[in-house]
Symmetry: C2
C-alpha cells in the first residue's frame, strides 16, 4: 500500500499574501438555511500558497499553465535537506551536491528549508533562505524539470533573473510547499502537483502530494 | 511508462455557471509591463466546473473538504459507459450491472454520459441524464467510496435526496468531469481528484486525471 504525504499549506479567509498580490477571500455564498446547501466563493491570486508557476508568469510568449503537459506534473522527486540554512542564507550548487546522483536520474528537486513554519505570519514573505543565481544556472545546466520549495518564492532580490532563467529553460517552479519534514531522506518518491485548468494563465494554486512506493 | 489522461473542463473568464452560483472571473492583476510579471486573480464557486463535493456541501455537521483523507482521493476506478442515455433519462442500478464486478473490488465509478460536450452552453446545466434515487441508494448499499460524472450535478430534481444520501454515507462526489471517452472500457485505472486545501469548506475545483498502469 502506498503512503500519501500532503505537502500543501491551507487556504482560508484573509490568509496573508505577498503585499502586491490580490487579497485572499473565502466566504459563504449560501447555506443549508438559505438555499438548501452550503457553497463558498473563493477569490485568490493564481500564485497563492502552494502553487505552480508556468513560464507565462514572467515570459509573455511562455507556456501557459493549461499548456503544461501533465507528465511534467507527476514526476520522480528527491528532497534536499536545507534545514541548516539560516534566514537570508543563499542556497548554492554545493548545497545540492549530496543529491546529485538523484538529479542525474532526472528527478525534480524539492528544497526543504523549514521556512513554511513562519506561515501565516507576514514574516513568511521576506528574509528566507534563497535560490542563488548560481543555483538557478546550475539547475538549468542539469536540465532538471521541476524545482519545488517551502519558501514563498525562490529569491526576493534577484527574483527576475532566477525566475526567467529557470522558467525560460522549461523548469516548472512550485512554491509555498509545506511540511516537507514528513518526506523521507535520500530516496526518490513520486510528486504530484496538478494545476487547475486555468485557460491561458500564468500559474495555479495546487494540492501538492508525494506518494511513497 | 504510465499514461496520464486529463478529465478536467477548462476554467476561464466568464465561464457559465449554475444560475444561482457565484460568477466565475479570471482576470489579469498585473503584467510584465506593469510590475515585471504576469499574475491573475481568480474568483470561483467552490463547485465550479470539474470539482469535488465534501459532505459539508449538504450537511452542516459533515466532513469539510480539507478533512477528506487523501487516500480517498487517489483511488482505483472504473468507467461506466452510459453514452446511450438520452437527455433527461434516469441512470438506474440496472445500468451499472455490467460494472458490478469492478465495484465489488472497491472501485470508484465514473459515469460517462458524454454530457460534457454541451459545455460551455447554458444547456449543459439542465436536462442531463441523471442519477436516480434508486441508484443513489444502490451506491450506498455497495459501500462505494466515490462517484464521478460528466454532468454538472447528479440530479436536477431530487438533488437534495441524492446528495444527502450519498454524502451522508461517506461517498465523495466528483462532478463536471470531461472527455471520459479517452478512458478505457472494462478495466480499472487510478483516478486522482485532489481538492485544494480550503479550510472548513464544502468543496473545491480540482484537476482530475486518470493514470493507466
Amino acid at each position: 500500500m502506498s503512503k500519501i504525504i500532503d505537502l500543501t499549506a491551507p487556504m482560508f479567509e484573509g490568509a496573508p499574501t505577498m503585499p502586491m498580490d490580490p487579497k485572499m477571500s473565502l466566504t459563504w455564498h449560501c447555506s443549508v438555511e438559505t438555499l438548501g446547501y452550503n457553497l463558498s466563493r473563493l477569490t485568490t491570486s493564481t500564485h497563492k500558497g502552494t502553487h505552480m508557476d508556468a513560464a507565462r508568469h514572467f515570459l509573455n510568449n511562455g507556456e501557459c499553465i493549461d499548456e503544461v503537459s501533465l507528465d511534467r506534473c507527476v514526476v520522480r522527486a528527491v528532497k534536499a535537506d536545507l534545514t541548516a540554512k539560516k534566514p537570508g542564507d543563499p542556497i548554492n550548487p554545493a548545497d545540492l551536491a549530496p543529491y546529485e546522483k538523484y538529479i542525474a536520474q532526472g528527478a525534480a528537486v524539492l528544497l526543504h528549508t523549514g521556512w513554511d513554519k513562519k506561515f501565516p505570519e507576514m514574516s513568511f514573505f521576506s528574509g528566507f533562505p534563497y535560490v542563488s543565481k548560481e543555483l538557478a544556472d546550475w539547475f538549468v545546466e542539469k536540465k532538471i524539470g521541476m524545482v519545488g520549495m517551502d519558501m514563498p518564492t525562490p529569491n526576493g532580490t534577484d527574483w527576475k533573473y532566477v525566475h526567467i532563467k529557470m522558467l525560460g529553460a522549461g523548469i516548472l517552479i512550485v512554491e509555498g510547499l509545506a511540511e516537507m519534514e514528513r518526506l523521507p531522506q535520500n530516496m526518490l518518491f513520486t510528486f504530484y502537483s496538478l494545476p487547475l485548468k486555468l485557460q491561458e494563465r500564468d500559474g495555479s494554486p495546487i494540492r501538492a502530494i508525494a506518494i511513497l512506493d
